[in-house]
């Protein structure tokens, strides 16, 4: 009897401790959210993790809510707390399934927090995926969207080759939510095999029409840190002094379905060179976007005259979304300036001089300009023409 009373006392104390913690998680959550660069606040965050890890399962929605606007590092601390709490309560029946589902289906909540909530819910509810994933096709969370797309691909496959229009309709729906390259390629092939056209340039939001000028000097890598005249002033009518004499702005466009602008092939296989590319992008309103691009060359990016990022790396591979540069677009015209550098390596594998660049939201969904094609210039000619106007020197080299 005494033993039982002790047990009850311990349970009551434990419940009381959880209750006290639940009363105000904010100091601990703030300690985590306040971590800064280079390990700043790590000790306080770790102490907060220790305290929060003893939270009740009922606190999970509040901990998940703290993901909102938290830094990527703070999110990882918070994730650890959620995992620890979920581990402790996985089998005691206290995981708040209903609240978690509400959190998941509230699409304004942080995408990663919603995904983590789904993972916790799925531990105690094996039907959650079948119930929730089909509605995630256009979700802000890339992981949810991927799951939904994969279900539709499976559905289309299961219809068989004779399904015709029905399969096309399912594949089209799948494509509407797909942003991962592997899935987009699979869907695109399935549609093309069925005689359908697929516009991947628009699907991904690749920018295909550019003004271009160069080459400027990049021997011994000097070009990356040298501010040539386009960095000082963008004057498309000006004659510029470059590596091999005077040059003028020309135009380049690509019809590659993945938006690759291949300078080496369509202009000239310049080595030890810097080319500048410029484009305008009409935005319907102010909005947060990401410029995502792939290139095996060194680069710098400016939008509306503001330097965003640069990377001094050559020939370490190229892939869609290799780099992600977040920025804010302004209403109306936005001017994009890109500096693309080629080194002097002679190896066969070091000859690529190309880039593909797109504009999308943080989840990877294309953000298209107001005009269907972001014209490089107002006097742009045929979009199918590879190189429409370049300097005489460059034109000669391209023949």
């Amino acid at each position: 009897m005494i033993h039982l009373r002790h047990v009850l006392t311990v349970i009551a104390l434990a419940a009381s401790a959880e209750s006290a913690l639940a009363a105000d998680l904010n100091p601990q959550l703030n300690a985590i959210r306040n971590i800064s660069r280079e390990g700043g606040g790590n000790e306080a965050a770790a102490a907060a993790v220790r305290t929060l890890s003893s939270s009740s399962a009922g606190d999970l929605p509040k901990i998940l809510a703290a993901f909102e606007d938290a830094s990527p590092l703070a999110v990882n601390y918070l994730r650890n707390v959620v995992e620890a709490v979920a581990d402790r309560h996985a089998t005691d029946g206290t995981i708040p399934a209903e609240e978690l589902e509400t959190f998941i289906t509230t699409k304004s909540n942080d995408p990663r927090a919603r995904r983590l909530a789904f993972e916790v819910l799925s531990r105690v509810d094996s039907t959650a995926a079948d119930r929730l994933i089909p509605g995630m096709l256009l979700d802000p969370s890339p992981e949810f969207r991927r799951d939904a797309v994969q279900r539709l691909i499976s559905e289309a496959r299961s219809l068989g080759d004779d399904a015709g229009k029905k399969a096309i309709e399912v594949y089209r729906r799948a494509l509407s939510g797909a942003t991962d390259t592997d899935l987009v390629k699979e869907i695109s092939k399935a549609l093309k095999d069925r005689g359908e056209d697929v516009d991947l340039v628009s699907h991904f939001g690749f920018l295909t029409d550019w003004r271009i000028v160069g080459p400027f000097d990049n021997h011994d890598f000097i070009g990356f840190d040298t501010a040539y005249s386009p960095e000082e002033k963008l004057d498309f009518a000006a004659k510029l002094t470059a590596k091999e004499g005077e040059v003028a702005w020309g135009e380049v466009t690509t019809s590659d379905e993945f938006g690759i602008i291949d300078i080496a092939k369509s202009i000239a296989p310049h080595k030890g060179a810097v080319m500048y590319l410029a484009a305008s992008y009409e935005s319907a309103g102010p909005r947060h976007v990401e410029f995502r691009f792939g290139t095996p060359n060194a680069w710098k990016l400016w939008v509306n005259g503001k330097f965003l990022f640069g990377r001094d790396e050559y020939h370490r591979g190229m892939a869609i979304d290799q780099y992600r540069v977040p920025t804010e677009l302004q209403t109306g015209k936005n001017v994009i300036l890109l500096k693309l550098c080629q080194n002097e390596q002679t190896d066969d594998w070091a000859q690529r001089y190309q880039i593909q660049i797109r504009v999308c939201d943080p989840s990877g969904v294309a953000v298209l300009p107001v005009k269907p094609k972001a014209a490089a210039t107002s006097d742009a000619g045929s979009p199918k023409q590879q190189v429409k106007r370049l300097t005489a020197r460059t034109e000669g080299a391209s023949r």
Partner: protein
């Protein structure tokens, strides 16, 4: 008084490191890439020369993601990292019961740095490290996560989050090591290249050094000379830079270049560097004030390792070249003693258990070579049937190896 106390604690930790270094792997643990003393050798261990699905495989378990990182062993736990997701941006740290293979815990994180890698690599390429009480998991995204042995987060760093141009589009592979109370991490690439010594208690940088701007996948090693502060030996295309592990102060440099893939190995008072083939440096002497580089003992350009790092056992250095030829050479002179062709190609660094060297090739074939005689002899050929790129771990008479999909314990 406080300073004295802190210094005493540090000395105690350093002494532990020295003891480990002097005696080699204790047999019970395998705490980092190539083991506790970064040698890859466990002389007291005896691993079966042959195994199959029905023989000498204690357990085989599924892993949730890819990984080139080797397992580490801490007491009764085996810890492995993995990465998953279309973008390889989900980072996993998993702890398994060493006896049963049962998963004890798993923690996941989202990558905060870039996750693009060469198709052969993945984000979980560097092998984690441990000081015996904490786990330090490092990923190609340059995320560093410190957990206690129960999976409780101690601290984390996002080194690309802090230094946004620190990345490599082919992936990062250098495995960190623990020296005393400092975690040595090389984040070396074509753009923002550095090495740093992180305080193991809170993840803050004790030091950060600018390093050559060139992609580098080699891993650091350590050397202890008498009572001096242990040195972290940082390899790069420029050569070797020896730094005080606690302060980061450069002690000496070897500037004759080195490979950016296979890593150096310390044996006694020598360092064998994959440089112009293989170059032996004398470490165990105090350099005069006007001498900035250690003496070169010997060099042999025929002993160039491929991807796998050299390993030293009983006075011989063993090097596997790009053609899959194993060469044994006298560690004091560099004289080649014998050669043996193996079935490659190899990414995994071999490990030694007793008189056996164990080589996993990329197809998952394991060749066990007896090195006790005048010539090497293959005494066992096995296959796990999956791609193996990691360096295995040995603890007591057990070996642990992982693929992208599985973790095996090989033991009688």
């Amino acid at each position: 008084m406080i300073a004295l106390k802190m210094n005493s604690v540090r000395q105690l930790i350093l002494l532990s490191a020295v003891v480990l270094s002097a005696t080699g792997v204790t047999g019970a643990d395998w705490l980092q890439f190539r083991g506790n003393d970064v040698s890859g050798v466990s002389l007291a261990s005896e691993i079966p020369a042959t195994w199959s699905a029905t023989e000498n495989i204690a357990w085989k378990i599924d892993l949730p993601g890819r990984g080139l990182s080797g397992p580490i062993v801490i007491g009764d736990r085996v810890v492995v990292t993995a990465s998953s997701g279309f973008r390889q941006d989900r980072l996993h740290v998993l702890s398994f019961d060493r006896a049963s293979g049962d998963k004890v815990w798993e923690r996941q994180f989202w990558a905060t740095g870039r996750t693009m890698t060469h198709a052969k690599m993945c984000v979980a390429t560097p092998t984690p490290a441990s000081d015996g009480t904490r786990i330090f998991a490092f990923f190609s995204s340059n995320d560093v996560v410190c957990l206690d042995l129960d999976g409780n987060l101690q601290w984390l760093r996002g080194l690309t989050h802090d230094f946004p141009n620190a990345s490599n589009s082919l992936g990062m592979a250098s495995s960190p090591i623990v020296i005393g109370d400092t975690l040595i991490v090389q984040v070396e690439n074509d753009a923002e290249s550095f090495a740093t010594g992180l305080d193991t208690s809170n993840g803050k940088s004790r030091w950060k050094k600018v390093r050559p701007k060139k992609a580098n996948w080699s891993s650091p090693t350590s050397f202890q000379n008498g009572d001096a502060e242990p040195l972290a030996l940082l390899q790069s295309s420029a050569g070797i830079e020896a730094v005080d592990s606690h302060s980061g102060e450069t002690v000496w440099k070897f500037g004759d270049g080195a490979s950016t893939i296979p890593s150096s190995v310390v044996t006694g008072d020598s360092l064998l560097v994959p440089s112009n083939g293989l170059t032996a440096l004398r470490l165990g002497v105090q350099l005069a004030d006007d001498v900035k580089s250690p003496e070169v003992l010997w060099n042999d350009n025929r002993l160039a390792p491929g991807t796998a790092s050299p390993i030293v056992v009983n006075g011989k250095v063993f090097v596997i070249n790009r053609a899959g030829v194993l060469q044994a050479a006298d560690v004091n002179t560099g004289s080649v003693l014998w050669k043996l062709r193996l079935k490659g190609p190899f990414s995994a660094t071999p490990v030694a258990a007793g008189n056996h060297l164990i080589f996993f090739n990329e197809e998952g074939g394991a060749q066990v070579v007896d090195i006790s005689g005048a010539e090497g002899a293959i005494v066992g050929e096995n296959s796990v049937g999956e791609t193996i790129l990691c360096t295995p771990a040995i603890a007591d008479n057990e070996m642990f190896v992982r693929s992208d999909g599985h973790l095996w314990k090989i033991a009688k």
